[in-house]
Symmetry: C2
Subunit: 276 residues, 2 copies
């Protein structure tokens, strides 16, 4: 019998992370839920699981996730990325009607993304909770009536709830970007079109502007940048940068030049850009 | 009687946020603890509290906090910043000795920052928990022996615990940056030396490099940059930027030029740089 791949996820099962894990690795996986992203990273680092699936960017409400820092500290590598179109659904115990629902609970970001639906349904009070799928779990476990969850269709399926209103998010075209993580440095695939880098530069006037001008000259188009404070070393700045790669040899040249002229580069991963 | 200022904080009382609130506003405040940063921002937005104190950068382990995005979405303004030197202490019920302690619980970041201490005290197992002050609270409420918390001296004072080991963090010079938030746009003070900006630019090749080159030319020295994805508008990029201001009139000129040539600027706050 083939051993199932163990995949670490943040949150309870039935979450968007769970959905991505199944889309990416197939149905035959063993998902392992952890409370925090930190624990997810640790489980990959110590070999408890084979891979992790981790949200790194959330569109629309524009969440900035600190996950690159966690990935760096736990010495993990990015092997791929995956974009999940976010679809929110109102779900409740089987047999419940929309008119039975007095309250809907979910993560504040999810509720925000369904603002219009709740404006059109003033009889349903939207209440913040810790997570999307967690509410679905509680409704199923405690057989709560009058209460709905706003979560993925995966959550409805997983906890046996019925979807009362489908795709209630306000903005279409709402994606969350996930990355796939592993412990070992992956063999570099041919012609990666995207890379995740940690760059540490000396804190000189205009140093970042110069770095980005260099990257632009080598056709590296930034899709993400996050600075992290290194207060104990005030002469250094660290950045997590995602960049599109137009030409692999130019990319290599640019990394060499950055190392030579500006500071140090750690390649967290080079992979295919999956954004359509 | 003078009405006490209500200050919103994330987490339980006795936290680093609580410590900063008292340092900044004095002892005579009414701290109000909320579970999430989102709720903290909401409480300022809807007028439940007068101000909020919010961590925005954590040095050393280098946490990237997504709080600027929350501040922007809830239409809040930054009125000031405050740097708190982070000091971790091992604390337990009064009467407990260091040799009684079998386990210490705290936030994973705090434990990481005290790595050396735990290496020197192998009899004490370091266990991740959700928060620093929360563990102190639980120890006091449930009168737990053999267990210690790693938290601020404020937590020991607030929950009546005894400090068994003081300043156990590995790196000295470890600061967390906090910002003070309010609902109304503050009257601009004379000669601010720092500003927090939200800049949205058109996604053209090298646009960010050009923006930063412009800022550098106007003596604006970046201390923080975070991009946020606007996937529903792929032709736009949004950045949260903190910058030092060398000359207020040059700063004004630069903002005008950015608006004219690159995109839109929202000033989240202009204030004094408190970093020594």
């Amino acid at each position: 019998m083939k051993k199932k791949l163990k995949i670490a996820l943040q949150g309870v099962l039935g979450s968007f992370h769970h959905q991505v894990a199944q889309r990416y690795f197939g149905a035959e996986i063993e998902p392992v839920g952890y409370h925090t992203f930190e624990e997810v990273a640790k489980s990959v680092e110590n070999g408890t699981v084979d891979y992790a699936v981790m949200a790194i960017e959330n569109s629309i409400a524009g969440a900035i996730l600190p996950n690159y820092d966690i990935i760096d500290r736990h010495h993990l590598y990015v092997v791929d990325e995956h974009y999940l179109p976010i679809s929110h659904n109102l779900m409740a115990l089987p047999g419940q009607q929309l008119s039975d629902i007095r309250e809907a609970r979910s993560h504040p970001m999810a509720l925000l993304q369904c603002k219009q639906f709740f404006a059109q349904h003033p009889a349903i009070r939207a209440v913040d909770d810790v997570d999307t799928a967690y509410v679905a779990k509680i409704i199923a476990e405690q057989q709560l009536t009058g209460l709905a969850a706003v979560a993925s269709s995966k959550a409805a399926e997983y906890y046996g709830l019925e979807i009362l209103a489908k795709d209630i998010q306000t903005v279409a075209n709402n994606f969350t970007r996930f990355i796939i993580l592993q412990k070992e440095q992956p063999v570099r695939e041919a012609s990666p079109s995207k890379a995740s880098l940690k760059i540490t530069i000396r804190n000189e006037k205009g140093a970042l502007a110069k770095l980005l001008t260099l990257m632009s000259a080598y056709d590296l188009d930034l899709t993400k940048i996050q600075s992290i404070p290194v207060m104990s070393k005030p002469w250094e700045y660290t950045f997590f940068i995602d960049t599109l790669i137009a030409d692999e040899s130019k990319f290599e040249e640019a990394l060499d030049l950055i190392e030579k002229k500006y500071g140090t580069v750690k390649l967290l991963g080079a992979y295919q850009n999956r954004k359509g």
